[in-house]
């Protein structure tokens, strides 16, 4: 098949930020995840856990709470004291509103979804009414002595439970007064030495309040009498999070030791109606604090300081034991953070707050910015003379000048007003055009020549839609531009037939102008742009079906490219494999070996021909963040070993092991 020289790059020093909150939306089966740098990501659990949207973070915005309300509206609140609503269509912040209560530690939407409750540093609990386009302050509840760290509504919406330092209060929503106050035992391992922080509360419909606290306890309280019913000591460290299933028959807690415990309401004896809460399963998928947990109908979701999002399906809740029953551990973003300039062999690495430019073979330049905002996207032009990147409020374009080995950067000033913020940036193959997808749904085309630029055209979104475009692909001859939104459709000058899974990567092949699209359910389509229909090969693949192991991969394809000399080849990769699809070879069926790591040993040509199939896979490089062709015989692979990430995390809680 071929031999390549591979530049194996491991110096992309990327460390994802820790997960702070997760919020599961039952209606759309989506998961919102917020990280400590303020980034909010939306995962579509129905679409193979694909990260379909993200909102860039901001240094001043530390999210402490995240919740869905009124079905599909997403709110967050943080230590800057602001409540933020996100525009899930245009992928921007809709508005931010100061709650005037100091840092906000907790937030909960009412069971009906029409009210929002926040707990503040100053001990106040504030109720907001959710209006169709904003939120409106309604009133304060009785002020408490210390910060409100956790909140939970009674499913009937009449009472709420609020966890504070050393106690839990129960408020009557109608009157706003505290009707119960339950003091939490400070004792920690038999000594009462420090304050007991109630990290999480959950209010069940039978009036039971479950609390988790910094002394490692999970406690059950009777809210009617304010008495402690049961107490489980489950950890030597803090228990930091709790989430209850909708049916209230199971809940999950996460501890600072990285353990997640599953509790279930089970009958005391078989076929008795009396039930009790029992700690059933411990899971240790994290090395660090589990800061947040969520409970979807079929799985336990947890995230924390070790930056992994872990989705652990509950086997008893799954009817079909398919690949969804496997544990998912999502560490890397499902988008590209790296772009490369083929001509000059340059790699551009995108970090949260800065970019790094490397020349393969020698270090070149590191551009650092002091911007508090996170970078949304970045791109280097194929010729290597332009770099563009964007934050949530500004767009930057730089010109690079090469004098022997020195590089000088010059910022192109006076960007036009419409180029405020971009979701995706792309240069044309000849580096003369810049394509920018703005978050209003508009596509701008800018002509670059010398040191100046000229706005050529703006594609306005179809009337009525404000959906933002997240993925762009341009044909090498510069005639065609493809854009894909956050939902499934792909737009060109015409629209590719809709498919119900989001697009994870796409590219237009040279010469043939075939658009290759990868979807989150691991399907790959090839669409002929000039003919406006799927190619024959694509139809054959669909008829034949992909190999089952191909469909069972759990990371999406993030990059597609083509070999300039071999038109039948498609190069693509996900985080754990790199694959060249040779369209001229027969497709594998489920019985053939999809991945064969061993070279053929002097077997006869016949055998080799019989076993050869279209998918040529290499699993040497992992986790693979980027792989592209530099020239005909050279590849660049950017790896980010997990050990290197772990080495940069804060040390976990030391647990005593036997014999140490």
């Amino acid at each position: 098949m071929g031999e390549f020289k591979v530049h194996r790059v491991r110096f992309f020093n990327y460390v994802p930020s820790a997960i702070r909150c997760v919020a599961y939306n039952n209606h759309s089966n989506r998961l919102a995840v917020s990280r400590t740098d303020g980034t909010v990501e939306i995962y579509n659990l129905s679409a193979n856990y694909f990260q379909e949207k993200f909102f860039p973070g901001h240094e001043s915005r530390a999210t402490e709470a995240l919740c869905w309300a009124e079905g599909q509206r997403l709110f967050s609140a943080g230590l800057n004291g602001e409540i933020i609503e996100y525009d899930l269509q245009a992928l921007k912040i809709k508005y931010a509103m100061d709650a005037f209560g100091g840092p906000i530690w907790s937030m909960a939407a009412s069971p009906s979804g029409s009210q929002l409750l926040i707990g503040c540093e100053d001990g106040s609990v504030k109720l907001f009414q959710i209006t169709p386009d904003k939120i409106q302050f309604e009133r304060n509840f009785d002020r408490q002595k210390s910060r409100i760290l956790s909140l939970s509504w009674h499913p009937s919406g009449t009472h709420i439970a609020a966890g504070s330092i050393d106690y839990i209060s129960v408020f009557d929503v109608k009157s706003g007064s505290a009707v119960r106050k339950m003091i939490v035992d400070r004792q920690y391992m038999g000594v009462s030495k420090r304050k007991c922080i109630v990290w999480g509360v959950a209010f069940l419909s039978d009036g039971t309040i479950i609390s988790v606290d910094s002394a490692g306890k999970v406690q059950f309280w009777d809210s009617a009498t304010g008495t402690l019913v049961k107490s489980h000591l489950i950890a030597n460290a803090d228990v930091q999070s709790i989430a209850v299933a909708n049916q209230e028959d199971s809940f999950v807690v996460g501890t600072a030791e990285g353990t997640v415990f599953h509790f279930q309401l089970v009958p005391v004896t078989s076929n008795s109606s009396e039930k009790q809460w029992v700690r059933t399963k411990p899971f240790q998928h994290h090395t660090h604090d589990v800061r947040t947990v969520a409970h979807s109908p079929t799985s336990l979701i947890s995230g924390g300081t070790d930056t992994h999002l872990v989705i652990r399906p509950l086997m008893e809740k799954l009817e079909v034991k398919n690949y969804d029953a496997a544990l998912r551990k999502i560490t890397f973003p499902h988008r590209r953070l790296i772009s490369c300039s083929r001509k000059r062999q340059l790699l551009l690495f995108q970090f949260a707050h800065h970019l790094e430019l490397w020349r393969l073979g020698s270090t070149v330049a590191t551009g650092k910015m002091g911007d508090p905002e996170n970078i949304i996207c970045s791109c280097i032009s194929p010729c290597g003379s332009w770099i563009a990147y964007s934050t949530a409020s500004r767009f930057f374009l730089y010109r690079l000048n090469y004098e022997h080995d020195n590089i000088s950067l010059k910022r192109v000033s006076k960007m036009p007003a419409f180029l405020r913020s971009a979701l995706q940036i792309l240069f044309s193959e000849d580096s003369t055009k810049l394509f920018v997808a703005s978050n209003q749904g508009t596509l701008h085309i800018v002509q670059l020549s010398g040191g100046s630029f000229k706005h050529l055209h703006a594609f306005q979104p179809q009337s009525g839609t404000v959906e933002a475009m997240c993925l762009l692909a341009v044909s090498p001859d510069g005639n065609w531009l493809a854009a894909s939104g956050t939902s499934a459709g792909v737009h060109l000058h015409c629209t590719v037939p809709a498919y119900n899974f989001p697009v994870t990567a796409m590219a237009i092949a040279p010469n043939t102008n075939n658009l290759v699209i990868a979807h989150s359910d691991q399907q790959v389509f090839e669409y002929s742009i000039p003919d406006k229909h799927y190619t024959d090969w694509s139809r054959t693949v669909q008829k034949h079906g992909f190999h089952h192991l191909w469909l069972q991969r759990d990371t999406p394809i993030t990059h597609i490219s083509f070999h300039p000399k071999r038109p039948m080849h498609i190069l693509l990769h996900d985080a754990y494999m790199f694959c060249i699809i040779d369209k001229s070879l027969p497709l594998p069926n489920d019985k053939t070996l999809l991945y064969n790591p061993f070279p053929p040993t002097n077997e006869s040509d016949v055998v080799q021909r019989r076993t050869a199939h279209a998918f040529k896979i290499s699993k040497i490089y992992k986790p693979l963040l980027f792989m592209d062709l530099l020239d005909e015989r050279t590849l660049v692979a950017v790896e980010r070993p997990l050990d290197d990430i772990i080495a940069q995390l804060p040390p976990p809680i030391k647990k005593k092991k036997f014999g140490t």
């Binding site: 071929g2 031999e3 390549f4 591979v6 194996r8 790059v9 491991r10 110096f11 290499s618 590849l635």
Partner: protein
Amino acid sequence: MASLEEEFTLSSVVLSAGSEGLLGVEQSSKADQFLVTDNGRTVILYKVSDQKPLGSWSVKQGQIITCPAVCNFQTGEYIVVHDNKVLRIWNNEDVNLDKVFKATLSAEVCRILSVQGTEPLVLFKEGAVRGLEALLAEPQQKIETVISDEEVIKWTKFFIVFRHPVLIFITEKHGNYFAYVQMFNSRVLSKYTLLFGQDENSVIESFTASVDRKFIALMSLSSDGCIYETLIPIRPTDPEKNRSLVRSLLFKAVVSGNTQHGVALTVLDQDHVAVLGSPLAASKECLSIWNIKFQTLHTSKELPQGTSGQLWYYGENLFMLHGRSLTVIPYKCEVSSLAGALGKLKHSQDPGTHVTPHFVNWETPQECGLEAQNSEPSRRILRRRKIEVSLQPEVPPSKQLLSTVMKDSEKHIEVELRKFLAIKQTPDFHTVIGDTVTGLLERCKAEPSFYPRNCLMQLTQTHVLSYSLCPDLMEIALQKKDVQLLQLCLQHFPDIPELVTCACLKIFLSIADDSLQETDVNMESVFDCSNSVHDEKMEEQTEILQNGFNPEEDKCNKCDQELNEKPQAKTKETTSCPVIPKRAALLNAILHSAYSETFLLPHLKDIPAQHITLFLKYLYFLYLKCSENATLTLPGIHPPTLNQIMDWICLLLDANFTVVVMMPEAKRLLINLYRLVKSQISVYSELNKIEVSFRELQKLNQEKNNRGLYSIEVLELF
């Protein structure tokens, strides 16, 4: 058996109880909550399990509560009367009694009575009774007078009999007592005169009543300390007639007659009453539980701080005023047996009865316990029982086996045992085996001639016995020097104490060869020594192994040189097995057994020196055999491992080194052993050097995986 549990104080707050005590303790609509009315202005709602008050209500200064608050079970509201005529109704949410519903009645109220399942009744001081609803409809209605002028209502109780409310109240006039029974379905009021019978001058202190189908059993505690019972028919034959009822003595002198404090009596259930009072004139007050049927005292509890002579019983709690605080004593009465009813007498075990050893069978639940806890045993067990039944039409073989063990001949027992073992799957298999062994061993002890060897061996091989289950088994086997059984025990028992292991070892070493030849010892652990020619060849190889280093070059002392003088001849001498194969098999069983060094060492010192030498010789032989092959194992099915051999050599030398050194016949052996050990140490130090080199190889391998930050490689796709 009735028992009183640990008491607890409901409120340490001093209630304004006064000398008369509390006005009343009444149930509320929630199971665990009780209304306590003190003798002044306050009603408090307590939750007993939490031992804390849930609510408290008081009437205004100047007003006084005259009748204990009760709960209307139909509405959950509370009702109280203050200043004799003013009725108040409130619920949990109300805070101030002044602002709640109020009704002023035209006559003075004696009590309000409320039980589950019916509306509350208001009993007026003149004896008239009204339903609450009817009364509230017209509060100022005229209330008739039922009882005569100087009659005073002393006590009252409200029952539900066959779903109809029945009210009984006792009045007193000039030392005469009258009982009134009001039926509400027929609106009939019957009056009875209570006659004292023979003892005319006693005063009745306390009443209590229980109800069965036809009668109200009214119990009274008189000042002479006796409890009397009066049966009052519920359905009078002729309601108009004034009848007399004679009381009968139920039992005598429960409490001392002349106490200063009040006494109280409460029926707990059919057979039990609780009595509050001093048992003797001078002693402190006591709460005691009596069984009426058997007239026995079941339990009692001293109340040193004195009581108010009031006692209430609801659910499982007894309420009383102990000192100044309201005390609750939970009371439990399990189903009583005759033995339990005999009272607090210490029933020591009759020494004559034979206690059969009881083996807990972990595989099936204890049946008696199961049935007591769970009325329906699980289906699985039922099914299993059915199978049993079908298998065993008459006497179950287990029972038959046990009876055989006690009486029959050895042969017969063997047959029965074989039968029993054939049907192995019985759920009580473990217990039967245990019982059988114990039975056999007891018989062995009793009759010295009885020794059912085959049975014991079979039982040992069932894998269900252990040393702790039948320590006598090995004791007897040791007495009889039954090495075969001992070997089996060593193989099958996991928990043999070191003392016994050592005793076995002594026997194995001391037993004569010819008596061993007769026994049928399991030879599985002994490898075949017959091809001694082969051994000779192996011996040569041992030498080669020894020469893996050069002993001449080794800078060892002269003694060592001497030792190396004639190795060939000496080794040959030792390579033939020093013990016969049967003894070897027995010793191997010892080597395989588990032990703890600290406990074994003292016992090893008791073994005679020549036996130690023999055992050492055998171990040395095994060690040589081990080192013959590269894997350092012995041939055979279940041979002793090298570690076991080494450990035992160490142990024997540790325990008996001073003795063995003094023995001339052991000298040669010790020297050979020393030489062998020395040569082995040299070999292993050489191996150590080789290992270090290979460790580098491993390091290299690791480095290959851990690449740097940047590399250029070649990828071949095919």
